[in-house]
Symmetry: C2
Subunit: 262 residues, 2 copies
DNA sequence: ATAAAAATATGCTGAAAAACATAAAAACCA
DNA sequence: TGGTTTTTATGTTTTTCAGCATATTTTTAT
């Protein structure tokens, strides 16, 4: 009894709010995961809309659904690419192992986007790994089937060319940011990028993503210590309000400025 | 007369050899540039082989030949993409301006490769600039025509998808190298990359490219001073033989090792 | 041919960020 | 529930590299 009272006393209002937000976030995430198989096929519209009737039938026949736990790995560097992966719900990181065991996240995906075909099309084994940030549902389709579709469907092929073109642009920008900006600029850019990708919660300030400091570091090319330090600095400068993994952007203009000047 | 003797005396055997190699290199470069218009169309085979007869006729009707001097700029960041560029002879760099006016070279092209369509396909203005390392000949084709071909030619579209897939892989690898390797590892990698791209001269040691230290620096994400310093170090370690812009790889295994461990 | 400009070489200094260390807080789990 | 592991926080030291200065060499322009 006494212990219980003590525990309750220890939780500050801010902490209570954090726990509340955290639970709401988990609920939101889980809710997205309740799709039935037919729902899921419908969700593949970015691809399936471009397919012929025959190809849609092939999709129906070959698609498989896979669920991944938090931090579970989908494929690793060196693996032979076998499937086109479509992200139905959850969040996925594509990362590459660096020299000192340090990882660099090269892409993050949101529903409904697809990945995992590049290496196959380039005739390589995977040079990156893919893992789930949070509980995630994927559709997987044999990549040979996807290749066949590409070889017979102009619309799909042109869509993929446009996707790749956008991706190359992002990577070009990224190279310069990661190599030339300073710690503060790189973290600022990553936070803005997370906001763009996963959006905000109802308050229009809280980023709809819960990343560990280590993941933020891997995204921003720095050590975990420096990610922690820089977030603390932004917090004490009232640019962010940081509450565990819940990050609220208080002064977006300032953050953009820091991101821009490096 | 006396002066003449003095001048001759000042040129060491090594220097004479350097001048000889330099002149031979310039001759080689110039020779590649003597193509007639019909030769040039023939040289576009990587694309034209994939075109239908009708498309080939359109190519013939629309293609233009452009010559660029050393360091001349083809397009700049912010420009509206208008042409597909095919490199017929010479060497081209694609680069991006960084924060402190420092450039990062994100791609180098050799004949016959094509570029300049990515931004258009991504529906953007150019986010990179293109310039000639040395006297260069290009074919340019209206990018709208290229887009039309893509929308009606499966083979071409699939070829472009494969090209983009390879490119994305290179960029992913590049991000990790440039951010995580040390000076020595980055320069080593750039030199090996130049060797892969432009090949060697007859001696099978000299890289068939003459890059300024500043360009090597822009390729390797470092200051010009550090590119100079590191090349000197490699030279005194007998990994390279450096003679102005002529770089001979003496110990490729060692260079690969340095590139690998960072 | 000669002056001016650009590129290369090298040393020195200081800033930025990694590496290391340690403690506190939070999450996990048997 | 208490103990263990992981994550976050923060201070200190060390390494790497950019920035600057200056001299020399090479290239370019006139």
């Amino acid at each position: 009894m006494l212990k219980n009272i003590k525990t309750t006393k220890n939780i500050s209002p801010i902490e209570q709010k954090r726990i509340h937000l955290q639970e709401k976030f988990i609920t939101m995430t889980k809710r997205q995961d309740n799709s039935t198989p037919s729902d899921i096929i419908a969700k593949l519209s970015p691809i399936s809309n471009l397919l012929t009737e025959e190809q849609k039938a092939e999709l129906q026949a070959s698609v498989e659904i896979k669920k991944y736990k938090k931090n579970e790995i989908m494929y690793e560097e060196g693996d032979v690419p076998q499937y086109l992966h479509c992200l139905i719900s959850g969040k996925v990181k594509i990362y590459k192992e660096g020299v000192g065991g340090r990882n660099q996240i090269v892409h993050i995906f949101k529903p409904v986007e697809f990945f995992g075909f590049r290496a196959y099309m380039a005739n390589e084994n995977y040079i990156t790994s893919a893992a789930a940030f949070e509980p995630t549902t994927l559709c997987i389709i044999p990549v040979t089937l996807f290749e066949k579709w590409l070889s017979e469907n102009l619309q799909l092929a042109n869509y993929v060319i446009r996707l790749c073109s956008v991706e190359i642009g992002i990577l070009n920008r990224h190279i310069v940011s990661l190599t030339q900006k300073h710690l503060r600029g790189r973290i600022a850019e990553s936070l803005l990028f997370l906001k763009e990708t996963y959006g905000m919660e109802e308050d229009n300030q809280t980023i709809s993503a819960r990343f560990s400091r280590a993941d933020l570091a891997d995204l921003s090319n720095m050590t975990t210590s420096n990610a922690i330090r820089t977030l603390s600095a932004f917090s004490s400068e009232n640019i962010l309000e940081v509450n565990g993994r819940i990050i609220k952007i208080l002064d977006e203009d300032q953050l953009k400025k820091i991101s821009k000047i490096g």
